[in-house]
């Protein structure tokens, strides 16, 4: 794994060997020598490791993952709701109260 963190590129040097990245309001310089010249532009999200930009983060894939997680949460939420209703229907205590309500 090795400690690498997502950062946003905010500045690129003229000779394209260095850039400045921002991680949650903290800025630092990073080396671009592992990337090809046209690879990185300002606004890109990149992975930083020991002062170097390692790779560009694929925004579409990141958003796709986030969508997947949202869907999973929605499905589970639905399942939970269905289960809660089922438990409620089968609840014996509620049955008694229901019967009393009808009487009154």
């Amino acid at each position: 794994m090795c400690l690498s963190i997502p950062s946003k590129v905010v500045k690129i040097s003229d000779d394209k060997t260095m850039c400045t990245v921002d991680t949650m309001g903290v800025q630092r310089d990073a080396n671009l020598m592992m990337m090809d010249d046209e690879d990185i532009v300002i606004g890109d999200y990149v992975l930083l490791h020991i002062g170097f930009v390692m790779n560009k983060i694929d925004e579409d894939e990141a958003l796709a993952s986030i969508d997947t997680y949202r869907e999973i949460l929605e499905v589970l939420d639905e399942d939970d709701k269905k289960r809660a209703i089922l438990e409620d229907d089968e609840c014996e205590a509620r049955g008694e109260q229901y019967a009393q309500e009808i009487k009154s």
């Binding site: 090795c2 949650m24 309001g25 903290v26 800025q27 630092r28 490791h49």
Partner: protein
């Protein structure tokens, strides 16, 4: 014990404790010392007495300098025992060639902080040593304060009590790392270095019974919670997501592989009160910092340990930090 002293022995964590116990406490043994509180309580509970040395590098950092740090550090140790800082001494060891203009700037900072605490310097010493014998400037201060709230101790924590933190954590440690040579970070982050007596006075005036209180210096909040858990033989259960951390501190921690709870603070303290006093204490603290919050409760689960409870139902131990804090690749 290792044969030679290493940097880790000065880290405020495990190795530091070992050095203190096995050499200093062994020979200086007495009841007052054995209590190991932030300041010694002497003269039958009337006075608090403490000392500290300051070797921080760089000398000037965003939000402060070594002078401000020295006064805050010592006055805070007194305030943490419920004492009003009254008298201080100031000893300096200056490296040959140090700028007199910078020296005066530092002393002026000290004056400003003394005024906030209502304390005065009554004695001092100056030494100048050859180039290389110290790193620019070392300051030692001692302080005496008058105790206004008795009974504050690390061994009084009991099940059900609440632990609060006075503001967001890790700002000082993160600022120092960001300012150090070799790690160039540009951020607007500042140290939290500040005098704590005003907040302590507010708590006392509000009638809050302070069970335990300690500023989270070397070793951070993690060190304080572990010391309390051991001293009182209880379990400190922390709600992980409640620990307040500034975005930028988070950023530096991410970048360098640190945990904010392990980083030093110089103007942040941890407070333990009875559950009944929790709301009132929070109210008082939030008047100074809105980020103050409740972070933990005391239980008997794993005595002597600190547990972090995550928001997704898992737990882990928060241990005393060990070794030197260094950026890691792994």
């Amino acid at each position: 014990m290792t044969k030679t002293v290493t940097i880790a022995h000065g880290n405020g964590g495990e190795e530091n404790n070992e050095l203190i116990k096995k050499i200093f406490y062994k020979h200086f043994e007495n009841d007052i010392l054995a209590k190991s509180e932030d300041a010694a309580v002497i003269e039958d509970g009337k006075l608090a007495f403490t000392t500290d040395s300051f070797t921080v590098s760089p000398l000037f950092f965003p939000g402060g300098d070594i002078g401000k740090l020295a006064v805050c550090g010592t006055c805070n140790d007194l305030a943490m025992m419920g004492a009003k800082p009254k008298y201080m001494t100031c000893s300096v060891i200056i490296e040959e060639g140090f700028s007199t203009r910078e020296l005066e700037k530092i002393v002026k900072s000290m004056k400003t902080e003394l005024e906030i605490n209502g304390a005065i310097v009554v004695s001092g010493d100056t030494k100048v040593v050859p180039k290389g014998a110290v790193d620019k400037l070392f300051i030692n201060t001692t302080g005496i304060g008058q105790i206004e709230h008795k009974g504050i101790t690390a061994s009084g924590l009991k099940e059900g009590m609440s632990i609060l933190v006075s503001r967001d954590v890790g700002a000082h440690g993160a600022t120092i790392f960001a300012a150090r040579e070799g790690i160039e970070l540009a951020s607007s982050l500042q140290t939290d270095c500040a005098s704590l007596y005003p907040q302590v006075k507010a708590l006392i005036d509000a009638g809050i019974h302070i069970v335990a209180m300690r500023d989270a210096t070397r070793g951070g909040v993690s060190a304080v919670l572990n010391e309390w858990a051991k001293s009182s033989d209880v379990c400190v259960e922390v709600t992980e997501e409640s620990i307040p951390v500034q975005e930028e501190v988070r950023g530096i921690c991410e970048m360098l592989g640190f945990e904010a709870v392990d980083l030093a603070n110089e103007g942040t303290f941890v407070l333990c009160v009875e559950k009944a006093d929790e709301a009132k204490a929070l109210d008082v603290l939030q008047r100074t910092h809105t980020t103050s919050t409740v972070i933990a409760t005391i239980s008997e689960q794993h005595k002597g340990k600190v547990i972090l409870n995550s928001s997704w139902g898992t737990k882990r131990f928060l241990d005393l930090p060990t070794g030197e804090l260094l950026p890691r690749i792994c």
